[in-house]
Amino acid sequence: MTREITYVEAIAEAIDEELERDDDVILFGEDVEEFGGNFGETEGLYKKHGRDRVRNTPLSEIGIAGMALGAAVGGIRPVAELQFADFAATAGDEVFNQIPKQPYVSGGQIEAPLTIFAPSGAGIGAGAQHSQSVHSWLGNVPGWVVVTATTPYDAKGLFKSAIRDDNPVFFLPHKMLSETKGEVPDEEYTLPLGEAAVEEDGEDVTVVATQLMFHRAKEAAAEVDADVEIVNPRTFAPLDTETIAESVRKTGRLVVVDETVERYGTQGHIANEIVENDFFSLDAPPKTIGVKDIPIPLSPPLEQEALPSADRIADGIESLF
């Protein structure tokens, strides 16, 4: 049986069920108690699980991320929220140097089964320091499992797996999807990390897209005169290159759309994997589409200019034929 719930409801359900299932799971972050998170993603959890398990922290991402690392090494499973993904940078050392590296430099002794989650992405006019998509920053540091969610179904199943995974996982919901609804099973379920999903079958061209861009890619697919296959990577690091390659072997064409900036974004890496390993299955050069190489501006028309639109994606698809 399924029912329709919103993306943030799916997130809250995932945390709720994991808090219930495993006493070692705790949730902390800024304003996760009564306030319930900026988007409602932690609503109700404090009331149900109490202050030992759901804790407001002082305002410091360094403290949140650093404490999560120690708590995980100490044998509990912290789920820590940063209010915006951009703030991965305010905990720069913890996020780039400590969490992904301590397990490695310890020669595998240190286990850091923590999850940091942080709403990412543009579209609500939040400006240059509250709108970034940071999965290319994080994907750049081996040691993080980097996960995004596109639908409520994804959000719940992937978040639960993130919490259960023994690696540090950075989970990036998208703010623009907060209120989107989708079908989610009544029964408990998880989705595998590290595996891409073919969301729409098609014969002519593979479009790789997640989060908001997935939804725009679907609109674009309806506009173009081609049979589009859409692959949702779900996990950016480590990347399931095989599922993408398999799709390109079938379609012969590749468009990668993502909300990271075009300059050194994820698009280039994904396209490169195919160019290097499956060049002869390509009938056209791959097309990469991302955020223009500018900070995200505030005014809605400017912000939309920075983001890939359904039209830009459609043009990108058509340019390959």
């Binding site: 002082p58 404490m67 120690g70 708590a71 509990i76 490695y104 020669g107 002794q109």
Partner: protein, 332 residues
Amino acid sequence: MTQNVSVDDDMARDLLEEMLRIDIFEEETKERFGEGEIPGFVHLSGGHEGSHVGMGAAMRDDDWLAVGGARLIGQYIAKGVPLPDIMAELYGRVGGSNKGHGGQMHVSDIDRKLYGHAATIGSGQNPAVGLGLAEEMKGTDNVAVTTIGDGGTSRGSFHTALVFAAYWDLPVVFVIENNQWAISTPSESLSPDSLSDYGIPHNMPTESIDGSDVEEVYRAVSEAIERARNGEGPSVIESRVVRLVPHFEGDKETYRDEEEYEQLKEEKDPIGNYRERLLENDVVTEAEIEDMITNIESEVEEAVEFARESPEPEPEAAYDHVYRTPLYGQGE
């Protein structure tokens, strides 16, 4: 004037022996580094031995240590990591505590509750707070001790850790080993009278002690740990020591006043002073000390042998330990 000994004779001898162990191990490390056998940098602890050993003695095996500052090896030894494991790690060999993935700045030994070191100075304190939180959540009375140098206290991360530890009254003991230098920058120029004053706005118990006196460190850290165990929250201790060695091997120390340096060596050498004190109080004899030294020398020699004989890691081992696989939900 003869100073009394405040601990029982066995313990006093153990304290001296452990300081000598650090000293002899590090002298050998210096030699081996000089001969090109040890890669990377080497930071030695000369002058900090009393602080390391007093702190180690105050801790239970089940208490966490998160090492900070740049004086590391002595702390690993004080936490009870076997010398061969440390030496082989300095060599980057398979037999090292971290199988060669860590090196001098990252020796960790999770079974012995040594978290290791955050080589970006000052980034180990928030994880220490998390370790304290984990112990509390698990219902133990174990504590987390975390060290930092005077230099590291200038980082926001250090101050954040104080905020977080105080916020939940967590069982964390912050030990600031103030050796008066952050490489060439003097701690004198920092505003607090004592660096432990950084705990005052958080209403934490603070104390500034002579960290070159091993018994004084043992006393102060024991008291702070006791408070933490009893649910009375975090403390900050400034352990005033001197750095009787260069910042790292190869540092020419052009910034130091030679006369003052010589005087400090005379007055603040924790090992020489303690040795005299125990002799004057008839706790040990010269012969016993000589025995200790001989025994430690052979332990250290064995550690070097172990390191030399331990294989270099296979290049493919570089790919180990990045992720624990399978990821959740993937086929087992």
